[in-house]
Assembly symmetry: C2
Homo-oligomer: 181 residues x 2
Amino acid sequence: MRKEIRLSGAGGQGMILAGIILAEASLFDPELYVVQTQSYGPESRGGASRAEVIFSNEPIDYPKVVKADILVCLTEESLEKYGEEVTDEGVVIADDSFGGGYYHPERANFYSLPIITTAREEIGLEVTANMVALGVVDSFLPEIDSSCLERAIERRVPQGTEEKNLAAFQAGQELLANVIE
Amino acid sequence: MRKEIRLSGAGGQGMILAGIILAEASLFDPELYVVQTQSYGPESRGGASRAEVIFSNEPIDYPKVVKADILVCLTEESLEKYGEEVTDEGVVIADDSFGGGYYHPERANFYSLPIITTAREEIGLEVTANMVALGVVDSFLPEIDSSCLERAIERRVPQGTEEKNLAAFQAGQELLANVIE
């Protein structure tokens, strides 16, 4: 088992924190190896942001995402950049603010969801879009228990914002449940 | 130019945040490529924590530390674990709470410094030991401007703690200046 997850968006959308929380949630599973990475380079100066998490039940020799099993894109730019680097059965989760319907109509596992809108309107705090996204990702990660993700969120978000962030996470879980029903 | 930095210690000592700040400081240099990684695995369940940062002026193909150019160890366990994975000219910065004098007496660039004591007694906040350590690291990183590190600290530490963390960073810079004089 090796699972590669890439979280991408604009700087300030909290993709790095989401990656750290995802990685830390794995700490509750004593058998799992996890590597969590962020890269910065001349190509990301425009404000793009990307975090990667790799889970495996063996030590991880190659710690870079090659083809994502799960890709999150909060901006159109990130979907254009990473949309092709996904496995055939991989899941692509994109914010619906940029349509996205044009993307891979043949891809079964493409979800265009109101992630940012949910954060802004339901939670009242747009910066929690990263936690809404994590809630969506959670549904595709049977390896990680939801309660472990919730404990990692409580540990890592700024003090005093735990409740809003947990609510955002749960809103993300529901977002997907509504679409799939 | 490729420079590998490993920050190690116990969980809760803020090595991951220090790694992120170090990586983000590089954003102010438009030419630099940076990868920042943390790994979790069965071997780290005891509460060990490790973050790695690699800087390069070319795209980084292999994003893992092989031999560190700079190694920070806030615990004796981490010095024992990573102390040998350092280049010949590499710098080892260890907290002085565990002696460390026994380690590599032939190594010219070994610094045993009161990092945790400085955080606790001078700043009044032991959790700022990670920023004291960053202040020490800064002196060995001519590639990164101190003011960029300070701006990254302000961006990333919890709101309201900026001043204490910046003071800790500056105390770290002085710590080394005092030793070298």
